[in-house]
Amino acid sequence: MGLKRTALFAAHQKLGARLVEFGGWEMPVQYSSIVDEHRAVRKAAGLFDISHMGELRFTGPAALAFLNHTLTNDLRKLPVGLGQYTLMCNDRGGVMDDLYAYRTKEQEFLLVVNASRIDEDVTWLENQLAVWPQRDQVRFENVSEQFGALALQGPRAVEFIDACFPGPSVRGARIARASDLTKNQVGVFHFGGHDIYLARTGYTGEDGFEILAPVEIIEAVWNSILSAGHAYCLQPAGLGARDTLRTEVCYPLYGHELDEKTTPIEAGLGSFVALEKGDFVGRAVLAEQKAKGTEKKCVAFKLTGKAAPPRPHYPIWSTGSNPARVGEVASGTQSPSLGVGIGMGFVPPSLAKPGTVIEIEVRGNRAAAVIVPKPIYRKG
């Protein structure tokens, strides 16, 4: 099967992007350099094409009840115009996907899911819906191909967002201008005669916005943001920087920290599991893990000496008189902000406390590292 391309493929080529495979898509990994784009996002602003991500729409009187049974966080907390990070689990509590759920209307929800999981998610949700008693009151559409998506991230994004999307919102969060959006709020704005969704969220640990727009106008939106941001040192940024940015702030990436055999509790995402909301798929296992603990825990670590950057699947070792292989790196890289190797990985809970010394095996040698609190990088 050939790789899929977003509507911005030609725009990336024109900007000299280096293109790589990611989750079945041919995506820009970098334009200038990962470090350069990473720094732009930490200091000014970066614009990412995230059109590969999936969008799933649920409407109808029973949409809320169905999704609240299928997702781990409590959707009832969302008024129209607000979103939340949440997870979708199987019966064993294993993560099917992690996603953002937005309440776009009283009876309409938009889920933004990982590109690599769209097919699995759709099948899973269809199967769940097929046995849901009020299934005739829920409409489910995979609208991924109708939407392009962008992430505008960085401390200066707020300075020019109003120039990109002037005027008050027309739906969703009712606000006078785009820069009034607060964290996780989503508003609908007009752009060239079309409706676009603008949400105050992101995946970099910086302030910023994510934009969902009809695929026919996504290039116009991309160009408009790039030109409005030019005076604010905005740069196009690729998936390479997106990965180093999210790793520094310990956001999970599906396929690394999360998979069908790992639960949100093990991944350290218990605060997005609303056990008190009533029954939902996976609840029994998650409740037991929350009460009794887990066998593995996702931790963050930093290398303490000069060594090669840690990479996914490198073994993690305990130290002391009886060193043992205790786990594996899930995500690892050289931190552009800190200048050292950093990562996340799974270890037994007895080794999960910040300050615990571990070693990362790199090509047969072991490099000293220490467990650190999440996030690894904190602003200021």
Partner: protein, 128 residues
Amino acid sequence: MSSKVPLDLKYAKSHEWVRVAGDVATIGITDHAQHELTDVVFVELPPAGRKLKAGEACAVVESVKTASDIYSPVSGEVLKVNQAVVDQPALANSDPYGAGWFFEVRLSQASELGALLSPADYSSQIGE
């Protein structure tokens, strides 16, 4: 993007350069290679005294994103390694043919030099 290919060097298909002086060869990675890697953050070199065979993976260059093997273009014993590029890996990006050199070997099979690429052949390999 146009890469520098100095005319006084020989090249390996795997993007290393070789500068020959008598029976000593100095080896590093090409401008094209450093540009493809971008942001070199770690360099691991073979210890002095190690005997290398031509084509052997003997060093590792890590960028933010990936680890890449470096192959010795020639056979011989490692005489010296460049500690400066180990301490400051970015030298491999900023000065790949100068301060960013990797290691020196005493050639054991001088005839191997004939199999390396000329600057013109290497330029055409990288499409320039």
